[in-house]
Symmetry: C2
Subunit: 204 residues, 2 copies
Amino acid sequence: MPQGKPETVPDDGLTTRQRRNRPLVIVHTGEMKGKSTAAFGLALRGWNQGWPIGVFQFVKSAKWRVGEESAFRALGKVHDETGEGGPVEWHKMGEGWSWTRKKSTESDHAAAALEGWQEIARRLSDERHGLYVLDEFTYPLHWGWVDVEEVVATLRDRPGHQHVIITGRYAPQALVDAADLVMQTTKVAHPMDSGQKGQKGIEW
Amino acid sequence: MPQGKPETVPDDGLTTRQRRNRPLVIVHTGEMKGKSTAAFGLALRGWNQGWPIGVFQFVKSAKWRVGEESAFRALGKVHDETGEGGPVEWHKMGEGWSWTRKKSTESDHAAAALEGWQEIARRLSDERHGLYVLDEFTYPLHWGWVDVEEVVATLRDRPGHQHVIITGRYAPQALVDAADLVMQTTKVAHPMDSGQKGQKGIEW
């Protein structure tokens, strides 16, 4: 936990400061809840640094992050009104991406996911955000809707100082290999196991 | 992820609604980062439900949660000014608990930790918060500064509908056994391994 010394110093020609401030690709994967939750917790720190935050939800239902969305929209408003923290954009595939307002139908999820990724690639090229949360983006990759190799190359070649967090199960190996940090959540015990269903404030 | 049916329904005499709304004790433990981050992500949902949030940091250095603290203080202010979300209190042992303003010294960490727990027990009895984050509280338990059995009994007997999230390594077995949900974070890859030190916005 402390800001300790790394165990080894790589021979990569970078100064400590350069290495320290390297923009990161972070993957939160595993079978258990907590992947997205931890990503949004991390985004709080980015917000506090004044970074423009961009959240892109690759999920059908918009229900499951409603708490985080409300909180981040409130933080974005704090920024807009007082200058504290960073600006926040929150985009959802489930309702049709806000930049197109085209409602996705059951049949065109693959197209909508690809369109979402293409917009993110444009924003990476434009250095639009300081921190990207690509929530549940592993699924379109897993299902082959978006090409993993293209994503890995785009992330590798992105300019400037942009952090990217990708969440979801089944993270493809090529993405895991390309990540600077991979967090895996493991289930130990869960109330669902003893017959409890989800509840507000905890599950969404 | 969907709000699915539980696999088994326990014979505990509770209705589905009662079981569903059962207040939870959640433990985030394991060797990897992400424990506190996920707890604060979860607290965003509680804030959105309008629950009074109480954060208690059992750590010496106040540096490592500065992003989360700023964001939650901003959210607390949003609540106070607009009524959106819930009120937020954030207390730190490192600077002396705010309700005593007694600066802790090197020698009395154990006393300060115990005092923190006693205040939390009083608040649980008063039903002061809807969601408690006891950040790094496993350490005072692990070191024997606060009695695990007493904590478990107090949590078990707490009145009303109060969720409690406890984070940190070395969660004592009695606490794990008493928890409704245990999330374990596992390290897969981390930039520290390749000689990178922590950086702002990511590590704090």
